[in-house]
Symmetry: C2
Subunit: 210 residues, 2 copies
């Protein structure tokens, strides 16, 4: 049972997926408990930062014992809403759309990809990893019937911008944006800007000696 006593700052919330991944790795390796010091060493985050973050969610650690890995993993999963089993439609059946549809890890984390939409007649009617590809023109009617929670946007920038109105009408709870467009929607938008991370890497290479 989790009691959220305080409002969680966004920066702390953004660290949760990484905790979740690390704890999942530990579980897979048969680790049942871990101290904040050991978790700190593994994650390259200070132990006090870890304690502070996890305290925000009710404080799962016990002095002298550390954290129960399975319990903490489960609790963070709940906080992240992974129990909601959100459905996803992918908009765009190109390389990025295919990469998303083919990654088995999302299903494991409670996300179910139920359809891909594209405008390319050559792929409509086919499937990616067992998920059917539909005509993008049918997106709105599909959503009226099936109420998918999340749209993964994997089309070029101009196509993404032209679809904003339709996506708003589809009533998605969240937009997972891989396009190079800044999408403004009534739902929360999380963007994966590949080129931003490449530019950050470039900056870090250039400033290695700072």
């Amino acid at each position: 049972m989790i009691f959220l006593s305080k409002k969680v700052p966004e920066v702390a919330a953004r660290r949760l997926p990484r905790y979740y991944r690390y704890l999942g790795d530990l579980l897979q390796n048969g680790v049942t408990r871990i101290s904040s010091a050991a978790l700190s060493e593994k994650m390259k985050v200070t132990a006090s930062q870890i304690r502070q973050d996890l305290n925000l969610f009710g404080g799962f650690g016990q002095r002298g014992y550390g954290y129960d890995v399975a319990e903490l993993h489960k609790s963070i999963g709940e906080i992240l809403g992974l129990n909601n089993h959100y459905t996803i439609v992918i908009i765009g059946g190109g390389n990025v759309g295919k990469a998303i549809a083919n990654y088995a890890g999302f299903k494991k984390r409670g996300f179910d990809i139920i359809a891909v939409f594209d405008c390319n007649r050559e792929i409509i009617g086919k499937d990616i990893n067992g998920v059917s590809i539909y005509d993008i023109a049918d997106l709105e009617s599909f959503c009226e019937k099936n109420h998918p929670a999340i749209a993964a946007v994997a089309v070029p920038k101009s196509a993404a911008l032209s679809l904003v109105g339709v996506m708003d009408r589809c009533g998605f709870k969240g937009i997972w944006n891989f396009s190079h467009a800044e999408i403004e929607c009534s739902a929360p938008v999380e963007s994966v800007h590949m080129s931003d991370s490449l530019m950050t890497l470039s900056y870090r290479i250039d400033n290695m000696d700072d």
Copy 2:
């Protein structure tokens, strides 16, 4: 000419790619100058944050005039090291590798993709968007001759982990990691963890009313 008078905090440095993208959009739309207030409105960052960030890099704004878009875009590009024309090899010719090789925007930003490596005999010898696919066994000898700056890692987690030793010997200046592995290397590593952003989106959907 840019004079870096102060050490730039990492959080500020991480905002630079976004400034660079926005300013590029403005340039394309024929905007020649912009106030910090207008940039703030567009980027959903406070104007004082923008002034503070840009002051770190020498302060390009002029009171009552605002920022010269072309000059600021160029300067931020220099700060990001985009003038270095880094070469990239892609490790993994699957969907993610293809998506990277096919995105024209990287070339425009000074990154040159020179080779793809894979272990799949069926694709070795072919090409993606004009870039040849080589046998992963030849990665080290290729790097000895061509000294690529960056490795884009687009293989499954286990493959990525098994390649860490080879990658270290290849002398990359930076690792751009798309795998679900945490890669530890002597060079800086920038990771694009797709599933982390999906979990963050899930959290935000779940906490919309907070």
